[in-house]
């Protein structure tokens, strides 16, 4: 017995025996055993003061915890928004078929693979994305599952598995995009393209060449854009043929030198966001890139993302060299806490977590509380399926967020703070941990920071997977070691938060903008954006735009500017239909309102929301009812279950949408859906439930005709599987490609004859349509 639980004894010793250690304890146990064995939990309850009900309550609440052993390898299918609109659902189904999984099990018979849906892997530009253990596969088509698994297995015995791969096994490191708008062509981009091809072929680089249309920067042509798998693209303007080799080689290493440059490349693969080692490129940039893309493409303004692509995340000296920590130096020498609060109030900054509460006012509330113990929490529990700005900020600018926290703590007289970071963000946790260590060593944390007399300790708390924990009262419950049930406000955390003490909870992005405000002054900040909506906002731009990624734009920028100028317009010549802003709390704004400025109020008026900052662009092939269903199924799944309206209301709305998208809708459903949406919004306890109906209400408002079409039996875009059938049209040349691809033998082998699809057998996996060389598959 003792032998068996030795590890648990050690885990308890490392993590503590009180309730507040419960989540870290469970995380450590799962780390040890790959799931939470019942015996282990029983032993845990015997050895600690934590009761069995508390253990089960928490273990069964958070997504991270498994009560059953998982397979040896974990297959994560990203079903975030960007992947969803690019067909992740079909990929997921295809994996289920591949592993022959029954509906109630996610692990295959051999216990080798466990399938898991994840909300966002943060590689939206590679959508749809699948991660097998730590290898990421991008652009995975439903019929490539065999190849993915085959390739993954082929990588198992190799020492250095390449982390980004195409489904056919070739490693992809990124994409090179060449502008082929008419201006580009006129300026000689054809020549550039030939040069790029020659460099790529010579070096045997595994990159994708892609042509992009006009990006509205015709004065800068020809354009070459380098898009690494993760992180941000770099756009080179006015490229000359002789520059091409330099540009390409500075981004991509030929495979031959891989071993030699192992360390360097590992560094690259791991730290893609900003750790690029620009040997010689710095100089090159000055002559070639008139300005980095960020500053002239669509008026982006980097504040939270200042020096992006330039600074090394954990190099504190580089941070300092680039103006880091000057804000706290200025603060400690010139400003009283009251003055700091006043400055933040004057800046007009509002909470970037979504609701937009004025940050300075919140600080003032906490400051007013005369309590011995107060806490500061950096809310990094981002869970929006398709937004990953918090992760990026924590990974790439750890010191900037820490500096923001020091300022917040000083202003509100707090001496202990937490980073609440999702456990799904291991790199963010690692970076912050390292950064905290270095800050302590350099006296940016700890006692008497920089001789100011001010003390601050910061610790990391890893969230265990619950979207609702982004809500501050649920987040606090989570740190206290409970399930993430929100509670009513008031009392607000500012009065009674963590363990009943006044607590300041700020979003990561908010904190990342604070040092700028103090360093540059409130007026500089509030000079950006518009009245009442000052400063900038980071968005994860994804979906059907030519260029997706993280952007930081001034408040008040129009949707059109974001989509057309920054995003480069709609890819593949499709029509711009709508943007979904704010993720599961937000809504869809149709293209005809593209001139709407992006600010808290105007988005709310349109039925959307700033939310967490997901900005997904939709084209005319996207079904709006399916979008509403997608977001609602997310919130329904993430509802904590505490209050009636959210627990049952979201489920019933999803039921109705399920019925509508499977051809079982009734005309009266729309009225009921509206009514229920209204009540779920009005009656729910916390923000999750209150905003859950937004995706439905906004699509009902702007795209009611699509709902009506579904009720009449037609999904206009052919996205809703139950409502469509596949058939072969007269274009068919009898090439049998579809026959070979069909996983269920629904297409008889009839070479040189027009093929046919047995609709009884067809599972609508779309493989035939994708492979058909002559567009002979109709989906109606």
């Amino acid at each position: 017995m003792n032998q068996k639980f030795q590890n648990i004894d050690r885990i308890i010793e490392e993590n503590g025996t009180s309730k507040k250690s419960l989540i870290p304890l469970l995380q450590a146990i799962q780390n040890e055993y790959n799931y939470l064995p019942e015996e282990a939990l029983k032993y845990l309850s015997e050895q600690t003061s934590i009761s069995p009900s508390e253990i089960i309550s928490v273990a069964s609440f958070y997504k991270q915890f498994r009560m059953q052993p998982a397979g040896k390898h974990l297959v994560k299918i990203c079903v975030g928004t960007a992947c969803h609109v690019k067909g992740a659902g079909l990929v997921y189904d295809s994996f289920r078929r591949h592993f022959k999984l029954p509906s109630d099990n996610d692990t295959d018979d051999s216990k080798t693979y466990t399938l898991e849906k994840v909300s966002c892997l943060g590689c939206c530009t590679l959508a749809p994305v699948v991660q097998v253990d730590d290898i990421t596969y991008g652009h995975v088509a439903p019929d490539q599952v065999d190849q993915v698994i085959e390739d993954f297995e082929s990588q198992q015995n190799k020492k250095e598995a390449k982390k980004y791969r195409k489904a056919d096994g070739s490693e992809i490191k990124g994409e090179i995009r060449i502008g082929l708008g008419s201006c580009c062509v006129a300026s000689g981009s054809g020549e550039i393209e030939r040069e790029v091809e020659s460099v790529v072929n010579q070096n045997n680089l595994r990159v994708k060449l892609k042509h992009v249309g006009c990006v509205g920067m015709c004065h800068q042509v020809p354009l070459v854009e380098i898009v690494p798998n993760e992180g941000e693209p770099t756009l080179y303007a006015k490229v000359k043929p002789e520059d091409v080799r330099n540009i390409v080689e500075s981004h991509f290493q030929p495979p031959g030198v891989f071993a030699k440059l192992k360390n360097k490349i590992l560094h690259f693969a791991e730290d893609i966001q900003t750790d690029r080692n620009w040997d010689g490129v710095q100089r090159y940039e000055i002559s070639m890139r008139e300005k980095p893309v960020a500053s002239f493409l669509g008026n982006q303004v980097p504040i939270a993302t200042e020096y992006r692509g330039i600074i090394n995340p954990i190099d504190i000296n580089e941070y300092i060299k680039r103006g880091g920590f000057t804000a706290i130096k200025k603060m400690f020498s010139e400003l009283t806490p009251d003055e700091v609060v006043a400055e933040v109030k004057n800046s007009g900054i509002r909470g970037r977590g979504g609701a937009g509460f004025p940050t300075g006012v919140k600080w003032e509330f906490v400051k007013k509380e005369k309590s011995e113990t107060k806490y500061l929490i950096c809310n990094g529990d981002e869970g929006d399926p398709g937004a990953f700005m918090d992760r990026m900020l924590l990974e790439s600018y750890p010191y900037r967020v820490i500096e923001g926290m020091i300022i917040a703590a000083y202003a509100t007289e707090i001496h202990h703070g937490y980073f609440y970071i999702r456990a799904e963000y291991p790199l963010a946790v690692k970076r912050i941990r390292k950064a905290l260590e270095i800050c302590r060593e350099n006296n940016f944390l700890g006692k008497n920071i920089q001789g100011s007399g001010f003390d601050l300790e910061l610790t990391i708390y890893e969230g265990a997977g619950a979207f609702v924990c982004g809500e501050e009262t649920a987040l606090i419950a989570s740190i206290e070691g409970s399930r993430g049930f929100p509670r009513i406000r008031p009392p607000f955390p500012a009065q009674s938060g963590l363990w009943g003490n006044p607590t300041l909870v700020n979003n990561t992005e908010t904190l990342a903008q604070i040092s700028y405000i103090i360093r540059e002054g409130a007026d500089k900040f509030n000079g950006i954006g518009t009245l009442g909506n000052t400063g900038t906002k980071v968005f994860a731009l994804a979906g059907k735009v030519a260029r997706g990624g993280l952007i930081e734009v001034p408040m008040g920028i129009t949707i059109r500017e974001v989509v057309e100028v920054i995003g480069g317009g709609i890819a593949n010549g499709r029509k711009f239909k709508a943007v979904q802003i704010g993720g599961p709390s937000g809504g869809c704004i149709p293209a005809e309102y593209a001139n709407t400025p992006i600010n808290y109020e105007s988005l709310s008026e349109m039925g959307a929301m700033m939310g967490s900052g997901g900005l997904v662009v939709l084209d005319d092939t996207d079904c709006m009812v399916d979008m509403a269903r997608f977001f609602l199924s997310f919130t329904q799944d993430e509802s904590c279950g505490k209050c009636t309206f959210c627990r049952v209301g979201t489920k019933r709305m999803l039921d109705i949408l399920d019925n509508i998208t499977t051809g079982k809708g009734k005309p009266e459903d729309l009225k009921e859906l509206e009514k229920l949406a209204e009540w779920t919004g009005k009656g729910s306890l916390c923000g999750l439930g209150k905003t859950a109906p937004n995706p439905i209400l906004s699509t009902l408002k702007y795209f009611r005709d699509e709902y009506e079409a579904h009720i009449n039996g037609v999904c206009p875009t052919g996205k809703c599987m139950e409502m469509i059938t596949y058939s072969v049209n007269d274009e068919c040349i009898g090439c049998t490609k579809c026959v070979q691809k069909c996983p269920v033998d629904a297409i008889p082998f009839t070479p040189h004859e027009k093929h046919s699809i047995d609709t009884e057998l067809c599972i609508k996996c779309d493989a035939c349509r994708a492979v058909c060389p002559v567009d002979a598959i109709d989906v109606k």
Partner: protein, 516 residues
């Protein structure tokens, strides 16, 4: 002290008082289900929503403290709709029957499960007392009723329905009729025309309420069609006479051999405070006492049986011809309530039926769950065969086959009470398949039916507060959240000292005392 205004009336309450408690202090009923006096507020059921009248926003009053100058509305239309919607959402995931389907199926709504339980316990006379609350002629009906109740019986889905009708006959035959304690006379006088099943029942229940009933019939003897249309073999005279005698003994003044013509009727409406017409089928266009009629008979309100004349009520075949004696008997019982309300100057509403949660048919996976409270046995038939009744042993064995489908919380379930008062419609959100019912009965004093749970967490919080070693806990989250015992432990180990408190605290019938 803090002053707040609730529904435009100011009240002073102590600091820290919740808005709900403040309203209750004023005698305003604020519905609530997740609130428990021994516990902190929890804010789950959302029934206690009230409105902040300055901002027009709804908030849960159990969890918000009264603040100086607050103005609150507790009962406008929007609030009612909020509560109704909350109830309908809860009902959509509440899988259980309030009254058993047999009772709902019985036109007289007799409490069949209770009858069965008392028979099973050998308490035949108590059982008869229960039957006679709704059915005035049990032994008679036990012989002639086509038993719609048995068609509705859940046991029928499992194997064969419980032999309800014969059980009723058994208690009618074997039980000692409840002693009639004459009610204090109210001084009211009511004439009932027609001594068939409807008239007899009306007379019986009115008389029990302290009304002096005079029962008229054109025949010399009471019984109506029971006496004339049914074979003696099926319904022996001595059985009929004995049960009619019991009714007449309650003090009913029976005047046989008196056909009532228009003149006599008009006189009656003046001599008596009210008249109940239970005179059977009116042939063709014969005079219906000048009352408004339909093609089928006298026109009367469907739930109060009141006719076009204020003090005249009509029941049974005089409304429309039916061969179902139990329907007439049921109407006789119900009209007694309407007449009683009329006599006492109350609004005439008839016998109001409470809200009933229903889940439909049992499915296969549920048979074993329901059998936990029953026995595995085929339907019993009287051994002596033919038209004979059960022996006591047979009756007990058959009664034990009852699945106990009625809810133990039938009288005090808050979900039922509020659903009734807010007119909730359980079918509104019937948008997907229901959950399968399970019953956890491995506990000496309580039974737990998780699918009736509304996730208010009172049990979880009570066991936590009283430091049960295992207790109840929340398992999972969202719509699939469940309340259960950690590590799939036994109910017995989860609830030790708190069992009774937890059962009493449960606002629905999810956790109940077995003995109930």
């Amino acid at each position: 002290m803090i002053t707040i205004k609730i529904n435009n009336t100011a009240i002073q309450v102590e600091e820290g008082t919740s808005v709900m408690k403040a309203a209750q202090q004023m005698g305003i009923d604020v519905p609530n289900m997740c609130w428990h006096d021994e516990l902190e507020h929890f804010t789950s059921c959302m029934l206690c929503l009230v409105k902040d009248s300055s901002r027009g926003k709804l908030f849960p009053s159990c969890s918000v403290k009264a603040a100086e100058g607050m103005e609150v509305i507790t009962d406008d239309e929007e609030i009612k709709e909020a509560r109704q919607t909350a109830l309908e959402l809860l009902l959509s995931e509440h899988v259980g029957d309030c009254e058993a389907p047999c009772q709902l199926g019985c036109p007289a709504h007799m409490n069949i499960p209770l009858m069965n339980r008392l028979i099973a316990a050998g308490k035949f006379s108590e059982s008869l007392e229960v039957v006679k609350r709704d059915i005035a002629l049990p032994a008679v009906l036990g012989r002639i009723c086509p038993a719609p109740c048995e068609g509705a019986c859940h046991r029928r889905t499992v194997d064969e329905s419980v032999s309800i009708c014969l059980l009723k006959r058994f208690v009618g035959d074997e039980g000692n009729a409840p002693e009639i304690i004459p009610a204090i006379s109210t001084g009211h006088k009511v004439a009932v025309i027609g001594a068939g099943p409807a008239g007899l029942a009306a007379a019986y229940y009115l008389q029990l309420k302290g009304v002096q009933v005079t029962l008229f019939d054109k025949a010399e003897k009471a019984g109506g069609q029971l006496r004339t249309e049914i074979s003696r073999e099926l319904l022996p005279l001595d059985v009929l006479d004995a049960e009619i005698d019991l009714i007449l003994k309650s003090g009913v003044d029976f005047k046989g051999g008196k056909a009532i013509d228009q003149e006599a009727f008009d006189q009656m409406t003046m001599d008596y405070n009210a008249v109940v017409v239970a005179a059977g089928t009116f042939d063709g266009d014969t005079n219906r006492f000048n009352l408004k009629g339909t093609a089928k008979g006298i026109e009367a309100d469907r739930s109060t049986y009141r006719t076009s004349a204020e003090n005249v009520f009509a029941i049974g075949n005089s409304l429309r011809t039916s061969k179902l004696a139990i329907r007439s008997l049921g109407q006789g019982k119900e009209v007694a309530s309407s007449v009683w309300q009329f006599l006492n100057g109350k609004p005439v509403m008839g016998e109001r039926r409470m809200f009933n949660s229903r889940f439909g048919r049992l499915v296969k996976e549920e048979f074993s769950e329901y059998l936990k409270e029953s026995v595995v046995a085929n339907r019993n038939h009287p051994e002596s065969g033919g038209r004979n009744g059960f022996t006591a042993e047979e009756a007990i064995a058959e009664a034990k086959r009852c699945l106990r489908c009625d809810c133990r919380a039938i009288d005090d379930c808050k979900l039922r009470i509020y659903s009734d008062s807010y007119n909730a419609d359980q079918r509104r959100f019937k948008t997907s398949e229901r959950r399968k019912i399970t019953k956890l009965d491995n506990h000496s004093s309580i039974i737990y039916e998780p699918q009736k749970c509304i996730k208010c967490g009172i049990c979880v919080r009570l066991t936590e507060k009283d430091q049960e070693k295992f207790g109840f806990t929340y398992i999972g989250r969202g719509f699939d959240i469940e309340v259960g015992v950690p590590f799939n432990g036994e109910l017995e180990s989860a609830l030790t000292d708190t069992a009774i408190k937890v059962a009493k605290g449960c606002p629905t019938g999810a956790i109940e005392l077995k003995e109930k």
